[in-house]
Symmetry: C2
Subunit: 436 residues, 2 copies
């Protein structure tokens, strides 16, 4: 051990903050054997001082004033684990202004204010590390930013929200409705009391926004992400998908097209034989396709005390190693040099290309299929397969699986289909992602 | 772009060398946008100069003398893609002595001579990067060495030889014998004319040796790795395994026990529901279990021109970034600081803990099962399940699945079972790895 310890200030001692404290304490020796220096938490900012004091002992500064930690002259690295994008924003910006390096797990902050945060960090020559912000303990940011640096990345698709994946696994395996599975998830602590951010896809869109920037060298553009959650997903579509050889997953997908970047979160049918289709429960996985490496996949726990702390502490080790390095030789925050970012636009959803699953109820009489097929053909949507099953004496359910089509064309076809006199339900539209 | 290009000398322009040339050329702009500098191959050493000249053009030094490249004063980084551990050894050592950084895909060299190579590199303050040596384009070395640096790693298990995984997939899916599947693999270019290194597990053991050093901070100890290939694997065991809910995979496994490190390559039964059991064809995957992160998995193409080049070029980008860095702040070659390596021993195979699949043919008469069960119990091997099926009028096949046992105890039990008068075959022993 050649140098003095690196001194860390921790903002927040909740689940991930507590996990970070535990991992650094428990694996102190192992970590120092790797990093070549000890990493010490010397200050924590918390709401409940006596409770924190119990955990961290007498030798650590414990304060309710997070700015005291951020401005503390002895501290080299600030770990922000408060969450949200108001106070956390001010703290991170102030830490940067104070010349501190920052480690954060805050995807909401970076998805919304990343451009501002990274520009400020670049100007001050400090690092903002955020491995813990996406897919918990899986080192996916490192993989994309460094491991695949030789590649022109074509697309990535990920299960990056454990709550929704848990709910979808429960719906499929136990035949539950969305509401039942959500209630179970809440009871078991997999979903929060207000689950909106998770189930409506917002959390996944935060993470996807960051991954897209890393993959393509584009600014952070959360406001342009398409976000559709799973709260309207019917269990019958999970069953239909299963019979057709697919699993339904909430995917974050970003893909490079000639005219722009697709950036979208929504439930999708994935062929059962893909590894991604077999990621169950609260697990996360991200598939990344690079032009040289082909398809790669990264799998692990996407949340939780110790897995997330694993990523926070790995960032601390990385930052510790690079403290003395010339800033221009560090890995750029968003993988690409700030002066080499791409201004390729995010595509509107109508320009996205996907395959589609369309389900609707119709009167069971001659000519129905011909009329539907004509509309789809007029909209340049090519049908790969069609399934029909009787619902009652007079009605039948029809499912179409399309080849690749433009989403705008599908919107148009759905509008036309809605007006047909024999159509007796809304058209349920899900996207099909073959991940090849 | 602030600085002048980094200059690279390439030893070998075969499959991976050609791929490296192609990736650097094709993605030059993308790579420079990330690295902040251009990376240029300025010299190549090859056997066939005119052929190489066609590929690289007139501006690159092409020579038959690899030492000319290694000693060239303009060259910053030497990429060794010759393979083998004789000439490649001398070239890598000379490059280090010349103060050049080295990128290599040579697992045989590093598994056998890694301690010497890394010590020399450490003494000279140069980097030896080897992401391409294990699992092709999957950034597994980076994941273990940096991404999981917060963890005390407990074990890892990998499918790290594509040839054998391809053969095993073919045997299972097409019901082929080992010899038939090998012939197919050779015809399609998945196996070499002399396939010994692959099918006997030597290549996997080279890679596993490196992974174990990275995971546990131990010196490279290929000579202590247990290596068992798939050439004796009977297709009937693949069928039996399938019916019992398992797939047979050639795994490289290394695991920390209280008394030492397990380091072993052999075919193993893996529960069908594990992702690793569903890695088919020539694909690779490595599962790594850390105390904080839990289980993680990394999947992709483990060989081939462009996937391996993806890893070589990623290493070039990493080395380029760290050229100017103080050597003591770089990531250590084997993840842990050289003065903090562990001398925990590699366990002999008799001390390994695993579950077991034992198959044998016996005379079908009363008392047989009781005698077998008694021997297993006397050796402290606990049976989880037993299956018997008639083979002929007089004979039956018996399969035992054991709970976890010491391999030495199983050796002893097998010796005793061999001497029983009613036993009519050798005892087939396979290990069962639950990967939990």
């Amino acid at each position: 051990m050649s140098s003095s310890p690196v001194k860390v200030g921790l903002l927040g001692l909740g689940v991930v903050g507590g996990g970070t404290w535990k991992v650094l304490a428990r694996n102190a020796q192992e970590i120092a054997r790797r990093a070549g220096r000890n990493i010490e938490i010397v200050a924590v900012a918390v709401r409940d001082v006596p409770k924190a004091r119990q955990m961290v002992g007498e030798d650590v500064l414990v304060t309710r004033d997070a700015f005291e930690v951020v401005r503390h002259p002895d501290i080299d690295i600030v770990v922000e684990l408060i969450g949200g994008d108001t106070l956390a924003h001010d703290l991170v910006m102030e830490a940067i202004q104070q010349g501190k390096h920052v480690v954060t797990a805050n995807k909401a902050l970076l998805a919304k204010h990343g451009n501002e945060v990274f520009a400020a960090a670049h100007a001050k020559g400090v690092m903002v590390a955020f491995e813990a912000a996406v897919a918990g303990g899986i080192p996916i940011i490192k993989a994309i930013r460094e491991g695949l640096s030789a590649n022109r990345i074509q697309w990535l698709a990920g299960i990056i929200n454990g709550t929704t994946n848990y709910i979808l696994s429960e719906m499929r395996m136990k035949g539950l409705s969305f509401a039942e599975a959500l209630a179970d998830a809440q009871r078991l602590g997999y979903a929060e009391a207000d689950p909106t951010f998770d189930i409506e896809g917002v959390d996944a869109a935060h993470k996807l926004t960051l991954l897209a920037s890393l993959a393509f060298g584009i600014p952070v553009q959360f406001d342009k992400a398409y976000t559709e959650g799973i709260s309207n997903l019917a269990s019958e579509d999970i069953d239909h998908a299963e019979r057709l050889g697919y699993r339904i997953k909430l995917l974050g997908i970003t893909r490079r097209r000639e005219t722009g970047i697709e950036l979208r979160v929504h439930p999708a049918l994935v062929p059962m034989e893909r590894l991604l289709a077999n990621v169950e429960g609260a697990m996360n996985a991200v598939q990344v396709y690079g032009d040289a490496v082909g398809g790669t996949l990264y799998y692990g726990q996407g949340a939780g005390e110790l897995p997330t702390a694993s990523a926070v502490v790995a960032d601390l080790v990385d930052v510790t190693r690079l403290l003395a390095a010339d800033p221009e030789h560090r890995v750029p925050h968003l993988a690409f040099q700030p002066d080499a970012m791409d201004d390729i636009p995010i595509l509107p959803m109508s320009e996205v290309l996907s395959s589609y699953y369309l389900r609707l109820r119709v009167e069971d009489r001659p000519g129905v299929l011909a009329d539907l097929a004509r509309i789809l053909a007029d909209c340049e949507i090519s049908i790969g397969s069609m399934f029909q099953e009787p619902h009652s004496v007079n009605d039948a359910d029809i499912i179409f699986l399309s080849h690749q089509a433009r989403e705008g064309a599908v919107d148009l076809a759905m509008e036309k289909i809605r007006t047909l006199p024999f159509v007796k339900s809304e058209v349920t539209r899900l996207r099909v992602e073959n991940l090849l």
